[in-house]
Point group: C3
Chain length 318, copies 3
């Protein structure tokens, strides 16, 4: 594996989930695999779970890790070609990426969208150029339009916890927020769940207010419902997440009705497990009573980030 | 040991000091103890000595270390329960702490007081919630009201350097500063010295201007003197430190007389060793002539931070 | 080797270059040398190549690495002696350096000039005091007036790529920029090339506009040319770099003529390899067509930073 940027980079998601769960049961089984190998983690934006879990995953495989907070310890990067660099950008991504590839065996990159131009963000220009010029395998630590480490983790968590008969019903439920957030997490989740649905692993529904439709390249096969209560009926997993509008790009549109998940709404489900990628705004996106209650899977989900990252690193090292 | 937040977490301080000195004489004797274990160091505030010495201590024990500057690389954390998180805090301490505990075997936390509300600071709400929710052993890297790694180091340094007969006289001497500083270091020092006095290891005096009395929960058994010169007579160790008022909380009160330690004042002592936790403001808190002279113990003291941290980590790993 | 701050700290540069190239061909041959040793990297200013390559070099030797971004994770340091520290500086370099030396076996320090006072910058007061007070071997990660790791790398790259008969002609060519940059890189490059010229390894020319003459302590033996085209004729290596004026200290002086290297100008050379320390401003300092073309050595040069750093660390550990 030379690139992990979306579900399309994985050939067999069922096996890949199993690989991660095997690592969870025996974390240090491959401690020699990463000997003398270095993982470079490049952050253009803040991180907590991704930073810590990916570091720990690499350490479990015997790799060393170098973290580079490019935004804070480095400088602004230019991505456009053909510009005279007489402004505020100090180095071009062509050089910066190539240089990082000189010192690291695998690189991870986090780079958020600016939410100003849909074309720019959805071109994944920054991420793609980094991959193109660095010359080593790359793991997305969340790009402008996807967060595949998170979505892989989410599928691991569903597989790990699902003890029912048949196929679990999974609902991605839009939630309110005060800020305009990227679509990366819901895009990626939809993409992974659509693939999982195609393989008979889940039954997948998206619940959202009108105007919040995601790009259809990610949602193929998903049922789309504009009524949260209707979507929740019979749900086995509810994945709560805010995102800004894709159509009216980057905007926070008014949403009629109550979209925050509460215990009252949870009673409509099949005693569903509640998931969130974190960080979560308590009592704005998701009720505290759920986060502090028995149905919350959010901490287990965060813990599983480690095994998702380790499975990918293992694949790249093998 | 599951928690190191104050002297009360140590059952036998004499033995604990000896453990640290044993590690100093053979730093790598326990290099296998931390195999496959990760220490996470979480900083809400800047650090030099604590950051470096605790990292090195963990490395000496074979642990790996992940540093998280939450204030710079992460985001603002909410600590209050029951609030709708529609403001500037991005994640609740409940989730953030629990998540960090998923990736680390031991966590260290630094979190300074705001010096605005005495009740809030002295409740140690932030530190205690972190301990409560992270689910793994925690070392205080300085909290709102205590800096136990520093005070343990100070006791190690006194034991290591005291060659006299009998019990050394230790004076905690308030010093001037231009900023309002926390009481954490003097609180903690007083707490450790009071315990050490109770065990016959030191004779402990606090010298300070009126209005700078510390919370009595930390100073039990200490002699309190309002005249620096009187306190210095016969002193074997002078621990210089500024702090803001506890009574008139967080305020810098006017102090009559000269409270900066100089060579002239040092002549009143029993050729005392001079200590300071650092960073120190030269010629404001403490005269350069002392820092550059033969009585200064400040660099040795800083070096001993390593063995204090290593002794605690060793205890937690054992 | 106790200090690496300039070419004067190296006794045999030919052998030293060979040592680096030997490490490049067998990076992990000395993986036991750094066991239980810690390298501390102290940054007062941003870094990409230096930070990553020096970390990786230390890891290859089995050392552990602690990075300290003093400007971001720490606080402002005082360097002047005899001042009452009642301003914004929190700690004196005397204490800060000594403390870092307590935890690290080797220290690296990056500290840029302020470009306000030539006397202050060229005294190397900050760097020298750090060396004086830390008590352990020190590597310059770029100081006010020199960047010896870079220049050592440049010599390695020339030796590695030169396949011609005789002595290669090396031209240091001033280039335009929008900001006032330090003279550290050209000073250091000139110093290393002058030494290399004295040992018959290169033939060295400096091309620059009038007013940009470097301090003569660095340029002894170099030919000085004020006409870029004339200098380029017969060049085997062109080292492109901007710097601000040394004479009219820290100023960006007007430069008549076109000083940006392009393919057209490159045709004047002996099909020269083009070098730059990076980061480079594309199409301002150096044409994109060169950076993206076959004559560019900049990525290889950046990659060689690793072997330069490893050769120095190996020397210090031996």
């Amino acid at each position: 594996m030379k690139l992990f940027s979306s579900v399309h980079d994985v050939t067999d998601i069922k096996q890949f989930v199993q690989d991660a769960l095997d690592l969870k049961s025996d974390p240090h089984a491959h401690a020699a695999l990463g000997k003398n190998k270095t993982l470079g983690l490049v952050f253009m934006n803040p991180s907590l779970r991704t930073r810590l879990s990916t570091q720990k995953a690499a350490l479990n495989l015997g790799m060393s890790v170098i973290v580079m907070n490019m935004d804070k310890e480095g400088w602004a990067l230019e991505t456009q070609d053909g510009v005279i660099m007489n402004g505020t950008t100090v180095e071009h991504i062509r050089e910066a990426a190539a240089v990082m590839g000189q010192y690291c065996d695998i690189l991870g990159l986090r780079s958020f969208p600016k939410l100003q131009s849909r074309d720019e963000d959805y071109s994944e220009d920054f991420f793609n150029k980094f991959v193109q010029f660095c010359g080593v395998p790359v793991i997305s630590l969340e790009s402008a339009t996807r967060h595949p480490l998170q979505s892989f983790t989410d599928l691991i968590t569903i597989r790990e916890t699902w003890k029912g008969a048949g196929t679990p019903k999974v609902v991605l439920a839009w939630a309110p927020h005060v800020k305009a957030l990227p679509q990366a997490v819901p895009n990626s989740f939809a993409e992974w769940m659509s693939k999982a649905q195609a393989e008979g692993m889940v039954d997948f529904t998206i619940a959202q207010p009108e105007g919040y439709e995601l790009d259809e390249q990610f949602t193929g096969g998903a049922k789309l419902v504009y009524d949260l209560d209707a979507a929740l009926r019979g749900a086995d997993y509810v994945y709560v997440k805010n995102w800004s509008s894709y159509k009216d790009y980057g905007k926070v549109l008014p949403a009629s009705g109550n979209w925050m998940l509460t215990n009252e709404k949870l009673r409509l489900t099949n005693n569903a497990g509640v998931m969130h990628c974190l960080p979560v705004r308590r009592d704005l996106e998701l009720a505290s009573e759920i986060l502090d209650g028995p149905n919350s899977l959010v901490i287990r989900e965060a813990g599983n980030r480690l095994w998702a990252a380790q499975a990918i690193l293992k694949k790249m090292l093998s």
